[in-house]
Symmetry: C2
């Protein structure tokens, strides 16, 4: 069985072909431009590949309500040309196969639950922390959609007492994303996070915020695994600091050994590495083909 | 079909008999004392009632992991005698029927989804705001359990700039519950909330905090309905203020008309009033009897 997978990110697209065993047989990537040339490359790639279904995990926000006339559209984004674009419809015109369609982070959560760090579990939350912050939620064996879809990057967080940066989120100023996404680090300290040493105070502040996000996920969703991915998490010293901060915030309230102990097995890096999103898209495609 | 329902609250127990149509045929209530005399009254009530199943929605935290040896126990609570108590096991010894067992707030969310404000929807979040704050989560047609169960009363919130009260949560000081549950209002202003006029600044501050909780629920869970119950919500002027604060926080980011408009139909009072919990316990009992 050949399944198409599309990981549509804000900076690059990854397209691939996979099978029902979760093997990626082929893949390409290219920068995200305006929608028409970008989708043109996607169509060129899948043409004559003989895929039986295509799964798409995409940046958003997007409309994932099958009952809506705007299903499959990007709703609103600062990316030029993409607001209101009929992403799914454009591909459906070209390929007469079942499609899976969800957010990039929901796809990543699904991929991790199927083949990665949350394999065998019926719940997990997947955070990506990069130029923005997104959250995918898998609960009771299902991806959570609801009204629209989770947008956990924008939750309120308590300000770090030493933080004088006002936050950069155009909607909420100092929400989680506004104080903890990559651009917040760069604007606060004047250099990119990747140029800051592991002992720079930037990381304690970053862990303070991401630790609150982890605690909020534990308290609102009680997932069986919390997975932290994205560019900022490439700083390997950060993950243990985040575990400490989450534990410090929760302060023994959630009485489960997986949380009370060091959280080393509970708050983890993606098991599928940087291509969790592509695996997730493959999983969405398999589900669309009735092979979940 | 006669189904037993137990709403086990921190201050009172409500026991009832219901049927598969969601009718409550009989009920009694009594104060919550130490576990033995309290469960004694529960057992006396259901003896000879001929129930085919019993649903329990209880204060907690509790163990709801069927694979755990501590399933059915209260895990930890300041209530004398209840920490570690085998609540479910005590009843199972007396009644040889299927049992449903969940948190009071998950039960209330389930009752509201079955017969109340979220009827016909496959997701909702139910907050109770009283002497404590609890959250029940129903997503994709299932109650959310996961690692333990949601404990959304303890999420971090941004401090109101005029709030000098340090918060009373013994674990987190100024988490949501620590600054917005009933006792926080009383300690901050020196009188009970029920004695404060509708124009007292206490309510703007309360709405500021509960509005953040609503926004966090929208962002983390994207439920199709958010239901606010509990003693504090008896102040009827509070609900519209909370809607305004949630809308102000979200600031147009979640582009769905149900959120962008006044939220009058989205953030609502319980449809089942004060006995949402008992209806929820009935729904749990029906599910245990295979009649969900």
């Amino acid at each position: 069985m050949r399944i198409g997978a599309i990981e549509a990110g804000g900076t690059k697209f990854v397209c691939g072909i996979g099978d029902e065993e979760g093997r990626i047989l082929d893949r390409i990537s290219f920068p995200t431009e305006r929608p028409e040339p970008t989708l043109g490359k996607v169509i060129d790639y899948f043409r004559d590949k003989g895929v039986e279904a295509i799964g798409i995990g995409t940046f958003g926000p997007i409309n994932i309500d099958p009952a809506s006339p705007m299903y499959g559209h990007v709703t609103t984004t600062p990316k030029p040309g993409w607001t209101g674009y009929d992403f799914l419809g454009t591909l459906k015109k070209e390929f007469d196969v079942p499609f899976g369609w969800d957010t990039d982070v929901n796809a990543a959560a699904y991929g991790e639950a199927k083949w990665g760090a949350a394999k065998g579990l019926d719940s997990c939350a997947y955070f990506t922390i990069g130029t923005g912050i997104g959250v995918g939620v898998y609960a009771e064996g299902k991806l959570v959609h609801g009204l629209v879809h989770p947008e956990g990057g924008h939750i309120p967080v308590k300000r770090h007492p030493d933080d004088t940066f006002e936050g950069f989120c155009p909607y909420h100023k100092d929400c989680l994303e506004g104080v903890a996404a990559g651009p917040a680090i760069e604007r606060r300290w004047g250099v990119k996070g990747s140029e800051l040493g592991a002992d720079h105070p930037a990381w304690a502040m970053e862990a303070y915020y991401i630790g609150q996000a982890v605690a909020t996920a534990v308290l609102m969703l009680s997932p069986k695994k919390i997975i932290l991915g994205g560019g900022v998490m490439k700083q390997e010293h950060l993950l243990p600091m985040i575990r400490e901060e989450a534990k410090r915030y929760l302060n023994g309230y959630v009485r489960d050994e997986r949380v009370l102990a060091g959280m080393d097995e509970y708050v983890v890096a993606p098991g599928l590495g940087e291509i969790a999103g592509l695996y997730g898209a493959l999983a969405l495609g398999l589900a669309a083909a009735g092979r979940a």
